[in-house]
């Protein structure tokens, strides 16, 4: 056990996976010699050589397309897209190829690959370093989509994703790389070294895909969240003194309906939180699931708190970001309804 940042935990997961299985290869833009712009692959090229960890041309289509070919050959590529905002050139390869290869070849060919990408805002990155495109992946049959919220889970989920036989989209909330950011941008962030979830076991372990975790037990209202919003929701619950139960989904697809339904049935109220825009966002899916599965337990309509339906702005970042104040208001609304 040792305390690690999320970046270190991810690096550790890659290192261990590459060590255990020589089919695991890692590549992407600035990923090789330099070790990635967020340093998640630092030292891997040195340790495993340039055939296992290397720099690619700036072609996201090329990165994912080549990964599909390699995966079909029998390797286990874990590739990096520098920012989720730059995945669009690769979208065709992800949606039309990786996601459907197993289905259309009736299992003759599969694409066991992982596409890692930093996601989310909060760094004044403007339109092109802030987006949360998870719903564009959960909408696609054949993909699994994972969003870790802490170093412990990041490592275990990434190893599980690499070992999974289907393509996995692994979204890393960049605002959590160094600490559990709770949306209070005017305060310093506690580093992971001082947070229990920064405690990362050494060696190999997995956190199973498809299993949510209860981050804060409560009886008044259920908050469904993932990534950065887990800490924003925690802050909001503390600040409003509402006994909220916070469910960290960890894997968006396949989702853990059992945990979700059990919590909502217990509390009778539900608030769904994400950074991405609202309309057709993953929150819409969660809200529909809750309605379909927990309708007779609900005492109030499901409330969504999300980014606004605008492109991600630069100067107005904190007006856009659904921070603790907005989540707090939603908790109150759910309680008062």
């Amino acid at each position: 056990m040792s305390r690690r940042t999320m970046v270190e935990a991810i690096r550790d997961a890659l290192d261990i996976s590459m060590q255990r299985d020589e089919r695991v290869v890692v590549f992407g833009e600035d990923v090789g010699y330099f070790g990635g712009v967020f340093r998640c692959t630092q030292g891997l090229q040195q340790k495993f050589g340039a055939s296992r960890c290397f720099d690619t041309p700036i072609s996201e289509l090329g990165i994912v397309g080549a990964a599909v070919g390699m995966a079909a050959y029998g390797l286990r590529p874990c590739v990096e897209i520098q920012f989720a905002d730059y995945m669009y050139p690769a979208y065709d390869q992800i949606v039309s190829e990786a996601a459907r290869l197993r289905y259309r070849s009736n299992g003759q060919f599969t694409a066991p690959l992982v596409v890692r990408m930093p996601t989310g805002g909060g760094i004044f990155g403007g339109q092109t370093h802030s987006q949360s495109p998870e719903a564009l992946f959960t909408h696609v049959a054949g993909l699994k989509t994972v969003v870790p919220s802490n170093p412990h889970d990041a490592k275990g989920l990434l190893i599980a994703a690499i070992e999974d036989n289907d393509p996995v989209i692994f979204l890393e909330p960049k605002r959590l790389y160094n600490g559990p950011f709770d949306g209070h941008h005017d305060r310093p962030v506690t580093p992971w070294a001082k947070h229990p979830q920064g405690e990362v076991p050494d060696g190999h372990y997995t956190v199973p895909l498809g299993k949510a975790a209860i981050r804060r037990a409560g009886s008044a209202v259920t908050v469904l969240a993932y990534g950065t919003m887990v800490y924003v929701a925690e802050a909001a619950a503390t600040e409003t003194d509402i006994d909220a139960e916070i469910v960290d989904l960890r894997t968006l697809l396949p989702y853990d309906l059992e945990t979700i339904a059990a919590s909502v049935e217990k509390t009778g109220r539900c608030v769904v939180v994400h950074e991405a825009t609202m309309t057709s966002g993953f929150g819409a899916e969660l809200s529909a699931l809750v309605q379909e599965n927990c309708f007779y337990h609900l005492e109030a309509p499901v409330v969504r708190v999300t980014g606004w339906d605008t492109p991600y702005p630069h100067a107005q970042e904190w007006d856009y970001f659904p921070g603790p104040a907005r989540v707090g208001r939603a908790l109150k609304a759910a309680m008062e309804a």
Binding site: E29, D30, G32, Y33, F34, V37, A50, S51, F54, D55, T56, P57, I58, S59, E60, L61, G62, D85, Y86, Y88, P89, F124, G125, G126, Q127, T128, H129, M278, T279, W308, D309, T310, P311, P313, H314, A315, Q316, D319, Y320, R326
Partner: protein
């Protein structure tokens, strides 16, 4: 049949990394004045060699020599020098402002000033650039107010883009400067589309696309070349080869192709390679390519060979991936210094005037900066409203968005 030998995987690597001694002596560089200047209507297949050499005008003695020389007079050259010096001073102040927390992000042009400054003066009003984030010289040499640039960088109350865009992602339709996207390469093909439209409408305006060495790897680049080639679009397709794409050396994007310019040959597009640190050479080649487009002779691909002296952006530290001394070893020198020496050689400039010019330019940049800051910086003073965030998503704000704005109390 003998047993096949195992294959091996090839990953290109730069000649030196930190700790090594940079050596560009094996980089073939044509002598100034050596490369011929064909007529603009020469068939592309007759000038394939121009994609593999380097067109240069300024020689070691700071003399302008050869067939590409002689286009610009004293006043134009002095103006060009001032544009480059202004861009450099602007960079210095904005880089510092970012370090002082007055904005979130900045990207410098150091070493590449000639490319955008000298290209801009080859265009006519109405022509449209589709730039990357490293062509602010197009704005400075194109007469765009520096105050607007700074207010954009500060996302303040006068920001023409209302705080919506990342710093340096300017847009000015009026100045022939298309809105910059942070997504690389997307705009190369748009430049071709704009040029196609101009031809379709029997207009006289042309377009210029811009891309970095690293970004040529994106499919958008290849789509641009095929469309430009097929429709003979009146477009100049510029590649700024500054040797680096963040930490990735140009060999990763170039692969086995001799040069980036040579990418054009397979498409039948005339391709020229030019010394990007030579103001006169850049301008002469730009003129040549612009004339081809204007005379409806079709697209031209131009590779500017230059060097990114500074960090990629304020988020980058190049000492982790290249020797600190690499930029000093770069054989094509500094564009400002080279033009300055040429002007001195011409007898129309002096060390003294240069110093004086530098001081004047810096003083005026600082004065504009003071004014810009009086209208706010990213984290203090007047700034665009949260309401601005909801506007301009659609021509008319739809009901759901209006509802969200109300919910947010905005």
């Amino acid at each position: 049949m003998t047993d096949p030998r195992p294959l091996s995987f090839h990953v290109p690597a730069p000649a030196v990394r930190p700790g090594g001694i940079p050596d560009f002596s094996d980089v073939p560089i044509a002598r100034a004045g050596e490369v011929r200047r064909p007529e603009v209507d020469t068939a592309p297949e007759d000038i394939r060699d121009l994609a593999y050499t380097i067109i240069r005008v300024l020689d070691r003695q700071s003399e302008a020599v050869g067939p590409w020389a002689g286009l610009l007079g004293d006043d134009e050259l002095i103006a060009g020098l001032r544009h480059m010096m202004t861009l450099r001073a602007f960079d210095a102040r904005m880089q510092m402002a970012q370090r002082q927390g007055k904005t979130s992000f900045y990207m410098q042009h150091t070493g590449e000033e000639a490319v955008s400054c000298a290209f801009r003066t080859a265009l006519e009003p109405g022509d449209m650039n589709f730039p990357t984030y490293r062509q602010a010289g197009l704005l400075i040499a194109g007469g765009y107010p520096m105050l607007d640039m700074m207010c954009q960088i500060y996302s303040n109350e006068l920001d023409p883009l209302k705080g919506r865009q990342l710093p340096v992602m300017y847009s000015s339709r009026e100045h022939g400067f298309f809105s910059i996207s942070g997504n690389l390469a997307t705009q190369y093909i748009q430049a071709v589309g704009w040029a196609m439209a101009s031809a379709m409408r029997r207009d006289t305006r042309i377009a210029a696309g811009w891309i970095g060495d690293g970004s040529t790897a994106e499919s958008d680049f290849h789509a641009a070349l095929v469309f430009a080639s097929t429709y003979k679009a009146p477009v100049v397709l510029n590649i700024v080869n500054n040797q680096w794409a963040i930490s990735t050396f140009q060999g990763i994007a170039r692969g086995g192709s001799g040069t980036f310019a040579a990418r054009g040959l397979g498409f039948g597009i005339p391709a020229l390679r030019v010394d990007g640190n030579d103001y006169l050479a850049v301008h002469a080649v730009a003129k040549w390519a612009v004339e081809r487009a204007r005379r409806n002779l079709g697209p031209t691909l131009v590779e500017y060979v230059t060097y990114r002296v500074g960090a990629h952006s304020t988020s980058d530290d190049p000492s982790a991936y290249r020797p600190k001394t690499e930029s000093d070893a770069w054989p094509l020198g500094d564009p400002v210094l080279r033009l300055k020496n040429h002007l001195i050689r011409r007898g129309v400039w002096s060390e003294e005037r240069h110093k004086q010019g530098e001081a004047e330019i810096m003083a005026s940049v600082i004065a504009v900066q003071k004014e810009a800051e009086s209208h706010g910086t990213l984290h203090s003073g007047p700034h665009p409203s949260a309401r601005d965030m909801f506007e301009g998503v659609y021509e008319e704000t739809p009901p759901h968005l209006r509802r969200q704005r109300q919910q947010g109390g905005i």
